[in-house]
């Protein structure tokens, strides 16, 4: 191995260690048969058992799932429409409008949504306000993924459908949607993972009463980092990981399934 390669590899190793060792510790200690996060005292599943007996934690998880599912559904429909619109109508302002929330600091989005809900809509904060807030910041992500997929495609495929007798709606249903479906699903999964662990925006737009998972975890560690927190974190990590893997697989497939412009051309 060349000297420069060695250095690169070690640098990479350090970066990855820095990223993943803390996560690994959380996972390991979730199975540790001790209340203290200090030393290894043997393998146990008791923290997971405790977790599933913790009423408040279960409610928080349920609420977070409802929010994440609703928000990702809403964001997928709206984001797909936005992605299609941005691709079709070459308006300069449209992408700016759709993509800005993606780049906007979360704290700003959280504060502005809070003010909007309270002062403009006069909404009582709760599940609904969180769902709307999460949908808002996920739309941009879905739109970006959908548009990226469309950009790689031969435009004449859609014209061919119209040309051969399909109405606009039939073209969408029979040609456009099947072709962008991997991107749509990837966008949905991405939205789900963004929503389920979002803290900042949730914190601003949640009312009192409804426990939400990330906030609940935060509240618990204010007292102490208990193995229960490790357990719920491990589960959350697993769920997110699965979603990310599926999403990246679907996005990657766009390049290899023969619909890119290069292959048809």
């Amino acid at each position: 191995m060349k000297r420069s390669n060695k250095w690169l590899w070690s640098a990479a190793a350090v970066v990855y260690a820095f990223l993943y060792i803390p996560l690994a510790i959380v996972v390991v200690y979730s199975f540790n048969d001790s209340r203290l996060n200090a030393e290894w005292a043997g393998f146990t599943l008791s923290w997971y058992k405790a977790l599933f007996n913790n009423k408040e934690m279960l409610t928080a998880a349920r609420n977070s799932l409802i929010i994440a599912l609703s928000a990702s559904l809403g964001a997928t429909v709206l984001g797909t429409m936005a992605g299609l619109a941005i691709h079709r109508y070459k308006l300069k302002v449209l992408p700016v409008l759709v993509f800005t929330p993606v780049a906007m600091p979360e704290i700003l989005l959280g504060v502005s949504l809070l003010l909007f809900f309270l002062q403009v809509l006069n909404l009582t904060l709760g599940m609904i306000s969180i769902i709307i807030a999460h949908t808002t910041f996920c739309i941009g992500f879905v739109a970006i993924i959908v548009r990226a997929r469309l950009q790689g495609m031969d435009e004449s495929i859609f014209e061919a459908a119209r040309d051969l007798g399909a109405s606009r709606w039939q073209t969408f249903r029979l040609v456009t949607l099947p072709l962008i479906l991997p991107a749509v699903i990837a966008g949905a999964l991405m939205s789900f993972t963004l929503s389920i662990d979002d803290f900042v925006i949730t914190f601003f737009t949640k009312g009192v009463g409804e426990p939400i998972l990330p906030i609940q975890i935060y509240t618990m560690i204010k007292v102490a980092v208990t193995p229960e927190v490790n357990a719920i974190s491990t589960l959350l990590m697993l769920l997110t990981l699965i979603m990310i893997i599926i999403a990246s697989k679907l996005e990657g497939s766009a390049a290899s399934d023969g619909i890119s412009r290069k292959e048809t051309g």
């Binding site: 495929i157 119209r162 040309d163 039939q170």
Partner: protein, 361 residues
């Protein structure tokens, strides 16, 4: 009544006029070609016939019916795209059955017609393949089958052979001629390749900068180009400045400065004193040794300036006494011999009195 009638159609994009007051009519059963360099407006015109684009003014009539405002899916017109535009997520059979399904045919009818269509393009065993499993030529044939399966009144072809390599293109040209003959559907074919247009078409419209320069049969387009653009765009041609000095019902007499008089066939609307060029195709010019006896009246001496050997023929560029260049084509009939004359050789060039044409400025 013409099947397709384009009446004074104009299409502008901003300040750029893509199609400028074009009128064309295409008869039923015809193989009609729009030929021109890129940017001449041929594709814009095709897109307006298909319904993807609308004219700013003028009319497009199909079977006498104005197509203005009729969306693409409601027109009895199908398009074969340059990129084939096969649906990548559907099998070959599903691609071909798509227009039949859209038209509401029964499943049984669809099945038999898809089989027939696959048979027509010799792809009977490929029904279950996906487009990315096919070669370029096979994709092309699927695109033809899909475009023709429900017998449109008109099939538009947008440079469909452009993506194929030279040898395959020639095979597909023959296939295309036979296909059109068999199905009897009217074809409007767009291309920038003049040899393709000459080989395939019943009639050709030569387009340039949004205008139609000439509409004629291939042999007329090649033999009697109406103006210098058409003459230059189609095939090879030599053009030498000339002045009309005498007109008769059958012939024109031209004076070529510092060279002499040339006789060409007569042409309507030309009068004594008109300036222009004498144009002649390389294969019409005979090249000979200067001492050879020549019976043709249009006969001059010159020097071989350059030559180009391409296997079957060699083109000799001969410089005449006045400095003008004229191309002469000679078949390489002696095996293994690339040329009969060398650069710098003195030669005679001659051509029939009905071979050259006069094109005025």
């Amino acid at each position: 009544m013409a099947l397709l009638e384009i009446r004074k159609v104009t299409r502008r994009f901003g300040s750029y006029t893509a199609v400028d007051n074009v009128s064309i009519s295409v008869e039923t059963g015809e193989f009609f070609t729009l030929l021109g360099p890129s940017g001449c407006g041929k594709t814009t015109l095709l897109r307006m016939i298909a319904g993807f684009d609308m004219p700013d003014s003028g009319q497009i009539l199909l079977d006498g019916e104005d197509m203005m405002g009729t969306p693409p899916e409601k027109r009895p017109v199908h398009t074969v795209f340059q990129t084939y535009a096969l649906f990548p997520h559907m099998t070959v059979s599903d691609n071909i059955s798509f227009p039949l399904k859209m038209a509401g045919n029964t499943p049984r009818d669809i099945q038999s017609r898809v089989m027939e269509a696959l048979d027509n393009v010799r792809l009977s065993n490929f029904g279950n393949r996906f487009p990315h499993e096919l070669s370029g030529g096979q994709k092309q044939r699927v695109a033809f089958a899909r475009g023709l399966v429900n017998r449109p009144r008109l099939l538009l072809l947008d440079e469909p052979l452009g993506a194929l390599d030279a040898k395959l293109r020639e095979e597909m040209q023959i296939e295309l001629i036979n296909l059109q003959k068999n199905v009897g559907v009217t074809f409007v074919f767009v291309t920038h390749a003049q040899n393709e247009a000459l080989a395939l078409s019943h009639r050709i419209a030569v387009m340039n900068q949004g205008n139609v320069e000439q509409v004629d049969e291939p042999s007329k387009i090649y033999g009697f180009p109406r103006n210098r653009f058409v003459a230059d765009f189609i095939g090879k041609i030599s053009m030498i400045n000339a002045l009309v000095v005498e007109t008769t019902p059958s012939h024109l007499k031209l004076d070529i400065a510092e060279l002499g008089e040339v006789t060409t066939i007569s042409k309507e609307g030309i009068k004594v004193g008109d300036k222009g060029v004498m144009a002649i195709r390389p294969e019409q010019v005979r090249i000979s040794h200067p001492s050879d006896e020549v019976v043709l009246k249009n006969h001059f001496l010159g020097t071989v300036h350059d030559l180009l050997y391409v296997g079957d023929v060699t083109t000799y560029i001969v410089e005449l006494a006045n400095g003008a260049h004229i191309k002469a084509l000679l078949p390489n009939s002696a095996p293994g011999r690339a040329k009969f004359f060398e650069v710098g050789d003195r030669v005679g060039v001659s051509w029939r009195q009905d071979a050259g044409i006069f094109l005025n400025d």
